[in-house]
């Protein structure tokens, strides 16, 4: 950074540098505005474009105007431009295709993957800058590497590496390529790697630099990767959206380290903004599930939770398709409560068809959306919007609960935890305190799922045994199809 400061001071006369700096300033402002707009429903989409515009500008101007002082003292622009452009093109094509073709439901994986790429990029930058710095400092006979530049390089590598490895594991888990590892031991392994990592960073900084001694940086990289893996491994697969959000903010910090290193305003602000807003976002996501971030990271949820004892009733009543069809057709108010199973079965379009069909018979059909139904926040909104369900039909959890007494039939489509009464009644339940949709207050409840299997929190659901509840077993899509046919035949 020091050198960069003197550099920019000395070539003050060059308007190019000023233009470059100005473009970074504008890019930062666009990032801020983009993020601001992204957090309001009406402006979110344009916010994304603003941020993208800022990014494009920063990249273009860097290519055109960036100058560094070479070892011989001259100022050099960006070399290897054809190669850089080739790399940009390759990245653009792959990224574009991947993003365009990914299924709506696989988007969290995609975000995780892209996040990992950013982390890897930050780590690679550090790995390339470290040897140069070591040579320089060794030449100056510096007694140690205790300076801002080294700190930025080492932290960038460490955080970027953790983010990369962690994101890859998160991707694997969401894509169901990697299972959950549950063991108390891993928590300690985990912690020891973290300590080792930090100690090693300090160690490097206190060592006198020796030109060409690169094993340290490789070891650090390896440690960061390992820690990234052990960090995410024990966390339940369904907690991955929260983990991705956290790793996202890590990558932001790693990018900011690069900004510090190059005294680059755009990288600094962009990175820090993502770092801090990502942290807050992670906390907000946890809050929506009524959990603390620590609880998510340490785990103990999302698998293996002890099943809350099923009291009283233990028999389950099924409902036949034709009975369900009659019940629905002669109701006045129907509420559909979708959950993760709807996403798995991709039954959203049929849901909308059912809604229209019943609507044509004068039945008022609406949807009760739990904020954490599915596997990412807004999952249900996205799915139903994809199926063209009108936005006014979507009730937020609170509104749905307030109206529950007036509902004739609730159809629960592949939801489980978000309609589990244990959250309110059993203080020892892992989901205790999480707000739920109180479908048991409605006059009838029909539950569509394939089996008596547990949901994400892996706990029993008393709802299934309640007197007003009827089960309609089968894949949500297939069942829905048959139900629609039945109603049409009435």
């Amino acid at each position: 950074m020091e050198t960069i400061i003197t550099l920019t001071k000395e070539i003050n006369f060059s308007p190019y540098i000023s233009i470059l700096e100005l473009s970074y300033l504008v890019a930062s402002v666009l990032f801020i505005l983009g993020l601001k707009k992204l957090s309001h429903p009406d402006t979110a989409r344009s916010g994304n474009l603003w941020a993208a515009a800022g990014m494009g500008m920063a990249i273009l101007f860097t290519l055109l105007f960036h100058k560094t002082q070479a070892e011989d003292g001259t100022y050099q622009g960006i070399h290897n431009i054809p190669w850089i452009i080739a790399a940009l093109l390759i990245g653009t094509v792959i990224g574009w295709m991947a993003a365009k073709n990914v299924k709506m439901t696989a988007m969290p994986q995609m975000v995780s993957l892209f996040n990992g790429m950013g982390g890897a990029c930050a780590a690679l930058i550090s790995m390339m800058e470290f040897p140069g710095m070591q040579v320089r400092l060794a030449a100056e006979q510096a007694p140690h590497m205790l300076n801002g530049e080294a700190l930025a390089i080492l932290l960038g590598l460490m955080i970027g590496g953790v983010s990369f490895a962690g994101s890859m594991i998160a991707f694997g888990k969401l894509d169901e390529r990697i299972g959950d590892v549950k063991s108390a031991a891993i928590r300690y392994i985990n912690l020891s790697f973290l300590v080792l990592l930090l100690v090693f960073v300090v160690f490097i900084m206190f060592k006198a630099p020796v030109a060409g001694e690169n094993w340290m940086i490789y070891t650090l990289a390896a440690l960061a990767l390992i820690y990234g893996i052990t960090f995410v491994m024990p966390i339940g697969g369904a907690d991955m959206p929260v983990v991705i959000s956290l790793l996202n903010s890590f990558t932001g910090v790693a990018a900011a380290m690069g900004g510090f290193l190059y005294n680059n305003q755009a990288m600094l602000t962009g990175g820090i903004l993502v770092g801090s807003s990502g942290t807050i976002l992670t906390i907000l996501m946890c809050k929506a599930m009524n959990r603390s971030l620590l609880n998510v990271i340490i785990g103990g949820f999302g698998g293996g939770g002890k099943s809350a004892g099923v009291g009283g009733d233990t028999t389950v009543k099924e409902i036949s398709l034709s009975d369900a069809a009659v019940l629905l057709s002669y109701s006045q108010k129907v509420l559909v409560v979708p959950g993760y199973g709807l996403a798995v079965a991709q039954a959203q379009h049929l849901c909308h068809e059912l809604e229209n069909l019943l609507g044509s018979k004068g039945v008022e059909v609406r949807y009760g959306i739990h904020p954490v139904a599915g596997r990412m926040p807004g999952h249900m909104n996205v799915l139903l919007a994809e199926a063209d369900v009108a936005y006014e039909k979507l009730l937020e959890m609170e509104d749905a609960n307030n109206d529950m007494n007036n509902i004739d039939v609730v159809i629960v489509v592949g939801a489980n935890d978000v309609v589990n009464p244990a959250a309110e009644t059993d203080p020892s339940s892992p989901i205790a305190g999480m707000p739920v949709i109180r479908v048991w207050d409605a006059k009838n409840t029909i539950i569509m799922k394939r089996s008596m299997a547990k949901g994400y929190a892996a706990i029993e659901n008393n709802l299934f045994f309640m007197p007003k509840t009827r089960m309609l077993f089968g894949d949500a899509k297939a069942t829905m199809q048959k139900l629609i046919a039945e109603i049409k035949n009435l």
Binding site: T62, I94, A99, M128
Partner: protein
Amino acid sequence: MNEVLAFFMEYREAIFIIILSIFLGIEVISHVPSVLHTPLMSGANAIHGVVIIGAIIVMGHAHNLLSMILGFIAVVLGTLNVVGGFVVTDRMLEMFKKKKTKK
């Protein structure tokens, strides 16, 4: 202690900018409705792709084959983050397009 102070003095503008940005990031996000959590995460993900500028800089001053290769990879990865990030976010938000303004 003196070293910490000297460090602070040297980088105080950057430190200051970092602190202001932290506050700004917190303030901007703290009122976001939960439906937007995922798109926002994705959008933020794209923004930290700004690290690509660093990749371009190292690649632009790489002189030996190893750093050329690493730089090339870094630029590709960074671009993936940027382009993929923005496109995926846009697709997510497209889903909300029919959304009416809520109170």
